[in-house]
């Protein structure tokens, strides 16, 4: 009985002494701070990607020569179910 009372007393003392881990007001403040921080990080990412895109796309794209007809290239054992063309483009073989 005395032990239980002591335990209960200690528990309530501990509960009173321990600071609230994340109170509502400070939590909202932290989230507002984090919101502003991640908004800035997002803008920095968008600016970086835009600059990289402008640089990369201004270079143009490379053209490749047709390789020799090695047996492991253009392996096609049967027609596509939708016919000889690609699904999104007309092939130049006919």
């Amino acid at each position: 009985m005395a032990l239980a009372a002591a335990r209960s007393g200690l528990r309530s003392l501990g509960a009173r002494a321990a600071p609230a881990r994340r109170r509502m007001s400070s939590s909202v403040h932290d989230d507002a701070y984090e919101t502003a921080k991640w908004e800035k990080i997002t803008y920095a990412g968008i600016v970086t990607c835009t600059l990289l895109a402008a640089y990369n796309l201004s270079k143009g794209h490379p053209h490749f020569d047709e390789p020799p007809a090695y047996p492991y290239l253009h392996i096609r054992n049967k027609e596509f179910p939708w016919g000889p063309d690609g699904l999104f483009e007309i092939k130049d073989h006919h």
């Binding site: 909202v28 989230d31 990080i41 990412g45 990607c49 895109a53 090695y70 290239l73």
Partner: protein, 280 residues
Amino acid sequence: MGVKGGLHTTGTKWFMIESQRHSYHLVDPRPWPISGSLGALATTVGGVMYMHSFQGGATLLSLGLIFLLYTMFVWWRDVLRESTLEGHHTKAVQLGPRYGSILFIVSEVMFLFAFFWASSHSSLAPMVEIGGIWPPKGIGVLDPWEIPLLNTPILPSSGAAVTWAHHAILAGKEKRAVYALVATVSLALVSTGFQGMEYYQAPSTISDSIYGSTFFLATGFHGFHVIIGTLFLIVCGIRQYLGHLTKKHHVGFEAAAWYWHFVDVVRLFPFVSIYWWGCI
């Protein structure tokens, strides 16, 4: 005595029953599991028939896909009604979708790991049949420092935007959260656009040796996951706009954010191991 939802009535008087002494949601019977199974069966059988040019294959495949998409729509619509409007998703109930989402993402990691394994298996010791070199003789590869490099920071930037959205939801800034989700989805769409452009310009196809098979399977499935994640985030954006998500209850958004971080982190692996190392 009539029963309607959680309320019982005797004559004109209504009173709450006190039979539910637990915090779990006992779901009403729905036809969606069996309709989803039938849709999946029609899709796979129709798909095989279509690929082998059987008559009616395309029709069965289309019907199966329509059935499957319809089931997904109505099933998830019901879950949203149960959680958002009927309040059945208690803290205990929310644990289910949380564990489910985590296990689903773990299974997705294993799924994509298999494709990177296949690529590494084929490229680390190239067979004599493809010239004993990687990339195989005659295969033209994309310059990793052009579109692949450009596409790599777009997804982590989108990941930053979804983190912005998460903090905005927690801070109760509803409009900022919608803007952040619009930014997330826009970056995702730009990434998919560049992936399409890269495929269009690619000198090889999926039928060009083991290089084409592993390259397009790994990058294509990653791109497919980007599209799924984008749809998931669009749904979250609409729900945030409609006021479904609160500071304390936004499990659907959290699942979408976890999935999106998985997709943006996984992008680094194909860039390093397939685009960059694969062209050295």
